[in-house]
């Protein structure tokens, strides 16, 4: 039986978390040649509301396309944390935006915090790359794909003019994510 690894990115619609999931799935399936599959659920809002994007990575066929038991969950907003920080496996990981999630979801998992939006705005310079900072952090924490594959996948997705910005965002997230578990 193949090994499934399940990731959930959640936050507000428009924060780019679906894109983060797509980038991760591309890193795993197109660059690393594993099986990967990305899905999402969203409400009627194009912006705002709570949205989630799930990625399943496996070395074998992925039958059930939705999360069964989540290995790592990211929540960028309180609403997302309340709605989607569930079904996390025992000893699994929950990463919260330190500034935007005040009430910590309770459960048998490890909770970590990073000021993701603030890092994007102040350290990288653009709030819009918060999703890439978050992606970097998740890859840094889990090693589910290699740093190199994830960075490549990020750069494939963005226009030339924004490559440096995104590279900076990814690597900042990656370093901080890795530090969290050390």
């Amino acid at each position: 039986m193949s090994q499934r690894y399940e990731l959930r990115f959640s936050g507000a619609g428009g924060q780019g978390l679906i894109t983060a999931g797509i980038i991760l799935a591309e890193a795993a399936s197109i660059i690393e040649g594993k099986r990967a599959e990305q899905s999402q659920s969203y409400g009627p809002e194009a912006r705002g509301g709570a949205s989630k994007s799930e990625v399943i990575i496996s070395d074998g066929p992925i039958d059930y396309p939705k999360a069964t038991i989540v290995d790592i969950c990211l929540a960028m907003t309180q609403e997302a944390a309340d709605k989607y920080a569930n079904g996390i496996k025992e000893g699994g990981l929950l990463l919260l935006d330190a500034d935007f999630v005040k009430n910590t979801p309770q459960g048998n998992f490890k909770v970590y915090r990073l000021p993701i939006m603030r890092m994007a705005k102040e350290d990288v310079g653009r709030e819009i790359v918060a999703n890439v900072v978050a992606l970097g952090a998740v890859v840094g924490m889990t090693g589910v794909v290699s740093r190199d594959a994830a960075e490549q996948a990020v750069l494939r997705k963005v226009p030339e003019a924004f490559k440096d910005l995104n590279k900076k965002a990814f690597n900042l997230g990656y370093e901080k994510g890795k530090e969290l578990l050390n």
Partner: protein, 377 residues
Amino acid sequence: MAKKVALLQGNQACAAGAVYAGCTFFAGYPITPSTEVAEELSNDLPKIGGKFIQMEDEIAAMAAVIGASLTGSKSITATSGPGVSLKQELIGYACIAEVPCVIINVMRGGPSTGMPTGPGQSDVMQAMWGTHGDHAAIALVPSTVQEIFTETVRAFNLAEKYRMPVQVLFDEIVGHMRERIVFPEPGELEVINRTAPTVSPAEYKPYDATKGQVPPLASFGSGYKFHVTGLNKAADGFPTTKAEYVDAEERRQVNKVMDNVADIESNEEYLTEDAEVLIWSYGSTARSARYAVNELRKQGIKVGLFRPVTLWPFPEKRTSELAKQCKAIVVAEMNLGQMVYEVERAAKGNCVVVHEGRVDGEPINPGQIAAKVKEVM
């Protein structure tokens, strides 16, 4: 050379499959969760000299597709449940006038507006019985992104070969999820084109049964002048109320499908050889079912999966055979019970048939199916 791969949504794969099949015309109307099919084709069709038109409503889109197909263009529309409801009269028109076309239905819940961003499988009976009057239907239900590509190609092939509308139904889950797809090389998948008439324009009859169960269809603007109508008609295409013509034509149009089930049928079986309980499931739900089969097998439970890829015509023969072999069949589908009645009919009382459904906008998960299997053991 390595084949081209990409991470694509099901809806995008559908559009790519259409282009591979030689489609040159799309008409549609925006509706969630199918819109990406239109978006992709609005971009891709003009690149190959094809045409994309966004019509004023769902009915108009179906009408334009039939009109375009009559000029010889392979034509497609994409919609969801409410749109299919609106299109039904003209789907019947395409049946009786025998105009090839492909209708994509990315299923959501319902009835009415229902849950536009949630998945559902409650249009499967509509695919067969949605339009009024006697007719045959072909409906395909892919369950992976790769299969959406190949089944869209097959839908065009069947539409052209049998001169009729073919529906492809998948749900919001597979329509929107992204998976790796390996693009077939040109020529790798069979692409069937319409059979043109060999007789002269003067001798041509668009419904001439002496030319076979599926008479050749000429194109408007190719030198053939002929009449097309939604009325019952004789071999020459003109309206008739003569009982013997009406009867013969109606029967031919149903038989052209029912006599060729072996050609149209496509099923997948997983661990059915020794199965005592069978899960009968299609589309994205069949993925949950397969996961459940693996989990249950680990517990020593002899369970297998039957997954129709062609849903209509109904896989009667194989379902009947499996009903004789198994103690029970669990029909898992995201509705309150639709295909389960067909399965029950085919089982002819040889085994217990139960339904496992869900209509809350969430997919049926493997645990839900596994619990049902244990219940009927």
